[in-house]
Symmetry: C2
C-alpha cells in the first residue's frame, strides 16, 4: 500500500521562513503564528495520512455505483467524511458567521494539499462544496446565504458546479439548458449537464447544484447565461428538507481515474431553481470563484506529484538493484539501492525540486488571494489573476509528468495497479483537463491576462522578479541562483515582447506560442520561488540555524532546479519566436 506523510515541515518553512505570513499586512494573518499553523498542519496531516490515504486505493478499486438513482460512494468514504466534518476541515477558511473557522485561504490551501495528496477523489466532495458555497457567499441574497451556507460550510449539504453539456465544454455560449421563469419568482430548469463531479452520492442529506442555464428570450450566446441554485431536495421555510426536486443522476462516467468521485450525468427535468446573482450574468458569478477554483486544481497537480514522489523515494531507497558505478554502497547486500544510480537521482531531484517549488508558488498565490479578498487589494487581485492560468496549467502538466516519472522508478511494478503508482498518474491526469483545459489556460494567459489593465500586472510581475533578484543578490552566495533567474526572466520578457509586436499584426502568432509561454512563465515562477528559498536558507545558515541539513538540502535542491530545469525557458522562447507559420500552414484537410 502506498505511503503518505504530510510535508508539514516544508509547509511551515514556506509559510513562516519564506512568506513570513504572521508579519504580513493582510487581515487575519496576525493569527498565523508558527505554533498555531503547526498545530493545524499537524492535525490535517494526521487525518490525511491515517484516514484519507488508506481509502485512496479503495476508492480507485471499488469506485462509485449507481443503483436505482442512488449513488453509493466507496466503502469507508462516509465515515471519513463524517470525521472530516466533525473536525471542521471543510469550513476551515469559511466565515465564522456561517459556522466556518474563518482562517485565511492560505491555510485552506496548505491543508488542502495534504487532503488532496492523500485522496484526491474523496477531497473533491468537499472541494466542490467549497466552490459552490463561495459563489453563494458572494452572489447570494441574505436569504440564500442563511438557507444554504451553514449547511454547506459544515458539508451537511454538499455542492456542485454544472457547466458542461454534451455539445458544449469550453464554449458555454452553445448551452441549451433552459430556465423558465415562474410566477413565484422561481425557475423551472430543464436540460442535461455532464461531467458533474460529486453530482450524486450518499454522504450528504442534500446536494446544492449550481447550474448554468439560459432564460428564454435573453441575449444570445454566453451573454444570456444565468446561474441557478437547484437543490436536490427543496428546502422548507424552517430549513428542513422538503420534497425531492426534479433533478437526477442518469449515469456515472467510467473514467481513467478519480474513481472514488462520482462524475455524473445530471438530468434536470423542470427542476425548481433559484436565480443566483443577476439574470444573464451567470458567467460573471461563476467566474468570481474561478481564481480560487483553478488554484485548487493547480494544488492537485502538486499534491499528486508529492505523494508519488514520496513513494518513489521510498522505493528507490529500498529496492536493491545493480551497483553504484563508483563502487558498492551496500557491499554486504546482494546489490545497492536504486538511489545510488545517477539517473534515478536525476529523476527524483526533478520530482523534489518541482514539488517544493510548486508548494511555495501555490502558497504565495494563496496569500495573493487573501491580500486581494481580505485586504481589498486590487493589485494583488490583478497579479493573482495573471498567475492563475500559470498555476493551473503549469502545475497540473508538470504534476502529471512527475507522477509518470515516479511511476517509472518502480520499473514493471509501477505498471501494476497493486503498487498504487498508476493511480497517482491516472488521478493526476484529470487536473490538466477540468476547470478549463490547459490549452484554455494558455489562451486565457496570453489572450486576456497579459494585456489586462494595460499590461499592468505582467509589468508588476517583472518588477517583482527584478526587485527580488536585486534584494536577494545582496546576500553572499546568491549569485548562482539569481543569475539563472535573470536569464529565464529575460526569456519571458522577450516572449512577451514578441507577442506584443507580432500579435498586433497576427493574433495567431501569439496564440501559437501560448502553451509554451505558459510553461516558460511557470519555470520563471518556480525559479523565483527557488531564489526566495535559497535566500531564506542561506540567511538561516549564516545565522547559525539549528537545522543546517534542512537548509543545505534546500540549497542543493535550488541548485538543481536552476541548473537542470530553468534552461527549458530558452527552448520555450525559441518555439514561441518561430511564430505561427509552421503551426498554421496546413489546411485542415491535409493534416
Amino acid at each position: 500500500m502506498p505511503i503518505y506523510t504530510a510535508p508539514t515541515k516544508d509547509a511551515q518553512y514556506i509559510l513562516h521562513d519564506v512568506l513570513k505570513v504572521a508579519e504580513a499586512d493582510i487581515p487575519g494573518y496576525a493569527d498565523l503564528e508558527r505554533d498555531f499553523t503547526a498545530a493545524v498542519l499537524d492535525e490535517a496531516g494526521k487525518i490525511a495520512a491515517e484516514v484519507l490515504a488508506p481509502l485512496n486505493p479503495v476508492g480507485d478499486t471499488v469506485g462509485c455505483k449507481l443503483e436505482n438513482g442512488v449513488v453509493y460512494t466507496p466503502p469507508g468514504f462516509k465515515d471519513a467524511f463524517a470525521q472530516m466534518k466533525e473536525n471542521g476541515w471543510p469550513g476551515i477558511d469559511m466565515p465564522e458567521e456561517f459556522g466556518g473557522q474563518g482562517m485565511p485561504y492560505v491555510m485552506g490551501t496548505a491543508v488542502g494539499e495534504f487532503f488532496s495528496a492523500a485522496n484526491q477523489a474523496f477531497t473533491m466532495y468537499q472541494g466542490l462544496t467549497h466552490g459552490a458555497a463561495s459563489a453563494i457567499l458572494v452572489h447570494g441574497t441574505e436569504d440564500q446565504k442563511a438557507t444554504y451556507l451553514p449547511k454547506m460550510v459544515a458539508c451537511d449539504w454538499t455542492g456542485t458546479m454544472n457547466l458542461t453539456e454534451p455539445h458544449c465544454g469550453t464554449d458555454l455560449g452553445l448551452m441549451r439548458t433552459k430556465a423558465e421563469p415562474q410566477a413565484d419568482g422561481t425557475y423551472k430548469v430543464t436540460g442535461q449537464k455532464i461531467f458533474i463531479s460529486a453530482g450524486e452520492h450518499d454522504m450528504a442529506e442534500n446536494i446544492v447544484h449550481l447550474v448554468l442555464a439560459k432564460i428564454p428570450g435573453g441575449p444570445e450566446g454566453i451573454k444570456g447565461v444565468s446561474l441557478f441554485i437547484v437543490p436536490k431536495f427543496l428546502v422548507n421555510e424552517d430549513g428542513s428538507l422538503g420534497p425531492r426536486n426534479g433533478v437526477s443522476c442518469g449515469k456515472i462516467e467510467e473514467k481513467m481515474g478519480i474513481h472514488g468521485n462520482a462524475t455524473c450525468v445530471m438530468n434536470y427535468d423542470g427542476a425548481t431553481g433559484y436565480l443566483l446573482g443577476e439574470a444573464h450574468k451567470g458567467m460573471r458569478a461563476m467566474f468570481t470563484m474561478m481564481n480560487e477554483a483553478r488554484l485548487g486544481v493547480g494544488m492537485q497537480g502538486l499534491a499528486q506529484a508529492e505523494v508519488a514522489f514520496q513513494n518513489a523515494l521510498a522505493y528507490a531507497k529500498d529496492r536493491l538493484q545493480g551497483r553504484d558505478i563508483t563502487g558498492p554502497k551496500n557491499p554486504d547486500g546482494p546489490a545497492d539501492p536504486l538511489i545510488v544510480h545517477p539517473d534515478i537521482r536525476r529523476n527524483l531531484m526533478e520530482q523534489k525540486s518541482f514539488a517544493e517549488g510548486a508548494r511555495a508558488f501555490l502558497l504565495w498565490g494563496a496569500t495573493l488571494i487573501d491580500r486581494a479578498h481580505r485586504g481589498q487589494d486590487a493589485d494583488a487581485d490583478g497579479l493573482v489573476s495573471l498567475l492563475t492560468p500559470v498555476i493551473k496549467g503549469f502545475l497540473t502538466d508538470k504534476g502529471f509528468d512527475m507522477t509518470v516519472q515516479a511511476q517509472q522508478v518502480y520499473g514493471g511494478h509501477g505498471y501494476i495497479e497493486e503498487w498504487g503508482m498508476s493511480q497517482f498518474a491516472r488521478d493526476a491526469r484529470i487536473a490538466m483537463i477540468y476547470e478549463g483545459a490547459n490549452g484554455v489556460q494558455a489562451l486565457d494567459l496570453v489572450g486576456r491576462k497579459l494585456a489586462q489593465d494595460g499590461g499592468k500586472h505582467v509589468m508588476a510581475f517583472f518588477d517583482l522578479v527584478k526587485s527580488t533578484c536585486k534584494e536577494a543578490g545582496e546576500t553572499d552566495g546568491m549569485a548562482e541562483f539569481v543569475e539563472p533567474l535573470k536569464r529565464a526572466s529575460k526569456d519571458l520578457q522577450a516572449a512577451g515582447m514578441y507577442f506584443m509586436q507580432e500579435g498586433m499584426k497576427n493574433p495567431n502568432a501569439a496564440l501559437s506560442g501560448s502553451y509554451d509561454f505558459m510553461h516558460l512563465f511557470g519555470h520563471v515562477c518556480l525559479g523565483l520561488m527557488w531564489v526566495r528559498m535559497a535566500e531564506t536558507s542561506l540567511k538561516a545558515l549564516a545565522a547559525g540555524t539549528e537545522d543546517p541539513v534542512f537548509h543545505q538540502t534546500k540549497l542543493a535542491t535550488a541548485r538543481f532546479y536552476m541548473a537542470r530545469q530553468l534552461p527549458m525557458t530558452a527552448t520555450h522562447l525559441a518555439r514561441i519566436q518561430s511564430g505561427a507559420d509552421t503551426v498554421m500552414a496546413l489546411d485542415a484537410a491535409n493534416f
Copy 2:
C-alpha cells in the same frame, strides 16, 4: 468507438521514396517492389482496421481471466488470432524453411506498426512468439529448431520470455530460479517468474517458455545464467503433444493498461527444460534478439501515438467549439471546429511530426537490422546497436507523451474511458518500462554503446549526418531544413565531448546526463529523418509529382519539426553540461 486507418501511403513513401528499399543492396530487398509492398501493406492495414481495432476496447474492458489455472483471453481474440495465422502474418519475416514468408525484417516492422496501433495487447501474443522463435532460430540445435520453429512461426504454439523475478528486474544477476541437470540431459527448472506477457492463454495448443535460470555450481551473478526452453506441454518424438509440464500461471496482474494481454506470474515447479545455447551464456542468447525486441517496443510507441493522433485529428475537425480568432470559419454553424484554434494545431502538429518522423526512423532502423543480419554487415550492426536504445527510449517516451496530448484534444471526453483515448495512453505507458526501462536504455546508450568499438559507431553516425546535410544541402530550398539539423547535431557532439572529457574523471558526470542525451540523440535522429523527407519531397515537387499536396504537406511538417521540436536539443545540452554535482549532491537520507 475509436477509429484507425493504417498509414499505408506514408509507409510506402518512406520505404520507396525515402529509403528506396527496392534498390538497396540488401539480400531480399530486390523483391520489395512498390506494388508488392503496397499489396502487403494494404492487406495488413485491412485486417488491422477491420479485425484487430474493433477488439481493442473489448480487450481493455473485459481483460483476461484466470480460472482454475486456465487463462481466458477477451471475447473475439481467439477468432482474430486464427485469422492472423491463416493469413500468415505472424511468420511474415521468418524463414521459409520453417513456414514463414521470408520477407525482410523491415516488412515485419512496417506491418507490425499497423497491428500494434490497432491492438497492442493482442499483437503482443504474436510479438513475443516472434522473439522466442528468433532466439531458437539463432541458438537452437537442429532438433530444437525442427521441433519448435514450424509451430511457432505459424503461431500454433506461442512463446514467452521469462527474465524478471520479484526481487530482480534489471539486475538479473540476482536471479534465483534454478535449473538442475538431469541424467538424460534435460534440466528441472524451479522458481517463480513475474511480468510474463502472454504467459498463459487459450489461443494456442502449446506455449514455449524461454526461461533464464541458474545451473547450480555455475559462476556467480549474471555470468551464471543460462537459457532454457520450457514448453507448457512436453513434445513427443513425433511432434505430438505429451504430458503437461510443471509450469503454471499463479496469477494475472492487474495493470494500468494492455488488459487484453495476460501478464502472468509463472511458477516453475521442477519443470522439464532444455538448454538453449550454451550453459552460463543465457544472457548472450537472450540479448542476441534484444535489438529487434527493443525496436519492436519503440514501434509500439509510434503505433499508439499514430492511432491516438488519428482520433484526435478527427475529433478536432468534428467538434464545434469557439470561433477562429481571425474570423469564423464555419459561419453557418454554431461554432468553428476545434482545429481552427492555434494551440490545437500546435498540439496536432507535434503529434503528426512525431509520428511521421518516428516511422521513418523506425523503418530506417529496420533496414539496418536487415543489412546487419541478411547482409552480414558489421557496420550496420554496430550502428543499429547504437541507435537501438534511442529508438526504444525516445520513441516510447515521446509516443506516450503524444497519446497524452491527443487525449487532451478531447477535453473532458478524453478522460472518459468510452472514448478510447485513455486506453491509448494507458497502453502506451508500458512501452517506457518493459524490455529495459528507459533509464536503462539511457545507461546502455551512454555507458556502453557510445564507446563501443572505440566510438566507431557514433562517429559513423556523425559522418552520416554530415554527409546527409552536405548532399541534401545541394538541393535548392534545403537550407531551412539542413541548418537546424546541423545545429542540433553540434549539440549532440558537444554532449558526447562533454561525456568523454568529464566521464573519464567522474562516470557520474556522464550518467547524470544519460537521459537527456538519449532524448537529444532522438531529436537529432528525427531531424535527420525530416531532412531526408524534405529533400525527397522537394525533389518530387521539382520533378512535377502527381501528388503535390502530399509533398507540400511533408515540407510543412518538416518545417514544424525543425522550428518547434529541434530547439529542444539546446536545453538537453545545457542540462547535460551542468554535470553531476546537482544530481549527486544529496545524501540519500536527506532527499
